[in-house]
């Protein structure tokens, strides 16, 4: 009964209990030896193609799949089968997602046959999972990819996490109630530090939870320092500190990831601030963990024939828009279109339904033999979708948006590995 209710819930979330949907899709759910759960939904009028949805960063315990992405209802109504894996790892799951997605497709083939085409999609962490799948997972005839706010620059995003955490420590460590254990490792192994503890600590240093007039002058100065050096929007400080603390601790301590060692360093980084440069903790990764992190995953642009549309919002403070410029520097221009929406309030993945639908429909048109979409044509498609009442806008893609160089936000660093312990690297 629990399973049945779960399926009913899932399908109600998919919007399948509408009058327009008289057909009954088949739902297959299961779990592999590796521990990943999966869900596959196949409509009666299956068109032979499979869409894979890759979810974002989550530190929740691994459990049954509850989300097939923002487009699942539309995709199923168009005849696509839709499938997703929970992944077998929490957090930065890239160390095993190749296996997870291969197993997902294996289960699909065993039950429904080989799909004609595979389209891989995902958001946030799911963006880089999608890129890695396109480049190396051999999932079959992967013709298309759609990423939303994807961390498509890959492992380099951890440099930003390390920087934020160590900048925070440099500014706040001596403030009563503000110290966070763990430093460059995020937290000590098996720490019981909670998300509420983190918010209270950051608040003690910066007053981030209080209205600005109630912050002390010292809190105001600390907040300005951290935001100035890290270039974060204020409403992202706690979110990104969570990534830099809990996410980093999971990455470092998980025995399936970095096995207790850091994978990033900042030995020679110039933070553009004399106080920070003078006081920040300097760390260097060992070669093995650094290589493991880089390999899981740094894109190489080997996309074969896969056509990819990447959507992003311009003020994202968790996965910065510069990720798309970094990925575009290795991916072939004829296979990648990036469209950036300009938003009033910084969000992570705050695209509306019309924007996401426009990305999907533009990809479908490209795969059907149409010309490569541009940000301008995606904006036009979005306006059509909105005007038709098919999905809510507004449409905010700016074809003139120039993505800044990621080096301006995630400061470049040399290969400052600590050679003293090369750490075996068997991945």
């Amino acid at each position: 009964m629990i399973k049945k209710n779960a399926v009913v819930l899932l399908l109600s979330l998919l919007g399948l209990f509408t009058e327009a949907s008289a057909q009954a899709p088949t739902v297959l759910s299961g779990q592999s030896d590796g521990g990943a759960y999966f869900t596959i939904v196949v409509p009666d009028a299956w068109n032979g193609d499979l869409v894979i949805w890759n979810h974002g960063f989550s530190l929740s315990p691994i459990g049954p799949v509850s989300d097939l992405g923002p487009l699942a209802g539309l995709q199923l109504s168009q005849g696509y089968a839709v499938a997703a894996s929970s992944y077998q790892q929490r957090g930065w799951a890239l160390f095993k997602t190749k296996n997870d997605l291969q197993n997902l497709v294996g289960a699909f083939k065993a039950n429904f046959g080989k799909p004609n085409n595979v389209i891989v999609t995902g958001a946030s962490l799911g963006g880089i999972v999608t890129v890695a799948a396109v480049e190396k997972a051999n999932l079959g005839n992967v013709v298309g990819a759609l990423t939303i706010c994807g961390a498509n620059a890959g492992s380099r995003n951890w440099d930003a996490g390390l920087d934020l955490r160590l900048i925070y420590d440099a500014v706040c460590d001596d403030v009563p109630g503000a110290s966070i254990p763990g430093g460059a490792k995020g937290l000590p192994a098996n720490s019981d530090f909670t998300d509420v503890d983190l918010a209270l600590a950051v608040n003690a240093c910066t007053g981030i939870l209080a209205p600005a007039p109630f912050r002390t002058p010292a809190q105001t100065a600390n907040l300005e320092k951290i935001l100035g050096v890290s270039q974060l929007p204020e409403n992202f400080l706690l979110t990104t500190m969570g990534f830099a603390t809990f996410g980093m601790a999971d990455l470092v301590h998980d025995q399936g990831k970095l096995r207790g060692k850091i994978g990033t360093g900042n030995a020679e980084v110039d933070y553009g601030d004399a106080m920070i440069n003078a006081t920040i903790e300097r760390v260097s990764p060992r070669k093995g963990p650094a290589k493991r992190l880089a390999r899981n995953y740094t894109p190489n642009g080997d996309v074969d024939g896969t056509r990819h549309i990447a959507l992003h919002t311009d003020k994202d403070g968790l996965v910065i828009v510069e990720n798309q410029g970094e990925y575009a520097s290795v991916a072939p221009a004829s296979k990648l279109t990036v469209a950036v929406a300009v938003e009033a309030v910084p969000t992570h993945c705050g695209h509306n339904s019309a924007e996401v639908a426009a990305g999907w429909e533009s990809l479908r048109g490209w795969l059907a033999g149409g010309p490569q979409p541009s940000a301008e044509t995606i904006q036009g498609t979005c306006e059509f979708v909105e005007a038709s009442g098919l999905a809510a806008g507004p449409c905010r893609f700016d074809p003139t948006f120039d993505i800044p160089d990621i080096d301006g936000r995630i400061r470049p660093r040399s290969d400052d590995d600590d050679d003293s312990d090369s750490d075996s690297d068997s991945d």
């Binding site: 009964m1 399973k3 049945k4 399926v7 009913v8 109600s12 979330l13 919007g15 209990f17 008289a22 009954a24 899709p25 088949t26 739902v27 297959l28 759910s29 299961g30 779990q31 592999s32 030896d33 979810h55 974002g56 960063f57 929740s60 509850s66 989300d67 992405g69 923002p70 699942a72 209802g73 291969q102 197993n103 294996g106 289960a107 065993a110 958001a123 946030s124 998300d195 509420v196 983190l198 918010a199 209270l200 608040n203 007053g207 939870l209 209080a210 209205p211 109630f214 912050r215 409403n235 706690l238 979110t239 969570g242 009033a344 309030v345 910084p346 992570h348 993945c349 705050g350 809510a392």
Partner: protein, 165 residues
């Protein structure tokens, strides 16, 4: 109920993996739920600690505010106001697991208030649960009618012209 079976699949490297499946052909369902019994109306016992909590939070006494919100909820578990107010603030603290049960309870207690669904929309969006976000957005829009839904400076959803306590 679906059929449960175990299959073995050979992976790319030739290794056999065991899979447990549940496969269902879903019936054509018209979703019908028993009407949920209405919760008793608020007794008013939460009103004062809820207001004290809001005051404490607005002056930067975060820990004190959290204690007062918990006191308010303990005083009247059927009052949606402290559930919503505390849930919103835990969302702002990125304590999503703690915020969710409070916001869900508020939506049970005050299901016709679009703001309870907008609060859930904010939480689901921030935690990247897209389908639940879509469902919450749809419910809020149905209740809001022609009123526009907007984000405030912190990214939280509310009805245009409103402010959040």
């Amino acid at each position: 109920m679906g059929e449960t079976e175990v299959q073995q699949i050979r992976d790319e490297d030739g290794k056999l993996e065991n899979w447990t499946y549940t496969k269902k052909k879903l019936p054509e369902i018209s979703q019908s739920e028993e009407p949920r019994a209405a919760a008793p109306p608020p007794t008013g016992a939460a009103t004062i600690p809820n207001q004290q909590a809001l005051n404490a939070w607005s002056t930067g006494d975060i820990r004190g505010a959290m204690n007062l919100f918990e006191e308010a909820i303990a005083a009247d578990s059927n009052d949606p106001a402290p559930h919503s107010n505390y849930g919103r603030r835990l969302t702002a603290m990125v304590a999503y697991d703690e915020a969710l049960p409070l916001l869900l309870r508020a939506s049970e207690l005050s299901p016709d208030d679009p703001q309870v669904w907008l609060d859930l929309l904010t939480l689901y969006e921030k935690s990247l649960q897209f389908q639940r976000a879509n469902a919450a957005r749809q419910r809020a829009q149905e209740l809001a009618g022609d009123r526009a839904m907007v984000r405030n400076d912190y990214g939280a959803w509310l009805l245009e012209g409103n402010s959040l306590p």
